[in-house]
Symmetry: C2
Amino acid sequence: MQGFFRSYLSVYRPLIQALNHLLHPYELSYSLWQVMLYLHEHEHASLVEISQYYGIEKPGVTRRVQRLEELGYLSCVPGNDRREKSVALTEQGLHVYSECRVKISALEQRITAGIDVAALEQTVVVFRQLLGNLK
Amino acid sequence: MQGFFRSYLSVYRPLIQALNHLLHPYELSYSLWQVMLYLHEHEHASLVEISQYYGIEKPGVTRRVQRLEELGYLSCVPGNDRREKSVALTEQGLHVYSECRVKISALEQRITAGIDVAALEQTVVVFRQLLGNLK
DNA sequence: GGTTAATGGTTAATCAAAGCAACTATATCG
DNA sequence: CGATATAGTTGCTTTGATTAACCATTAACC
């Protein structure tokens, strides 16, 4: 499968640009959106948890969280371990999440238009396998 | 196909890291590698040509080309239009290309191991379609 | 129980990559 | 000839990530 990576990577820039453009009105980028995505699924989370989930370093998470805090999209929630900073989406964060969710799904719809659903599902399976092999 | 983008993007960071790690001994990154890739296929090219092919701005290409020139991997070739800077791989650049080509193909082999070849081929088709829809 | 080690988080400095705006030089067209 | 378009460069800014060093708190252990 010579050229597979190249084929994969050719999609990246236009895709991330489209997503960032979509998120821009909310002062978000995809990297910030990732944090919201995680918090939408986990109610609350520590920074290390997010760091490990996305495979990025802790300082990166600190900054994403700081930004989202500034925007009022998330806030700290008290926990028993006082080292830990547990964060959760705010009311506003949840609202922004929902709005973006709709738009992102619509974009997904548009970008995958005309592609066989079975092929898309197959592709998702391939991504999972690639990810497994990459670790 | 909710979550398709997310699935796609989850592969990006680990993949690009693996590639950059592989290219590091040659003082290359994937963004530099792209230029070499193009020049390997086109003998020589102008910066605008490369810029359009990869969908990046001209200054980005200027800097990539400058870096590759410093490394001795490419050099200018004379053309009739004196505005234009036509570049081509040097002897050394070609040699480095070959070495990296082998290693990248091996990595590709490793990362796609155990994945059905038909599924991979279908995935490449999906990438092409996505790219088409993204424009 | 008190010292040591591990864990969670932050800050600062650095780097890579990309974008935009403004500029120079050359070509083309009227 | 002069206006306009094209190719490339430079400078500045932004985004995202990394490493190293550090502080605070908790856990482990003799």
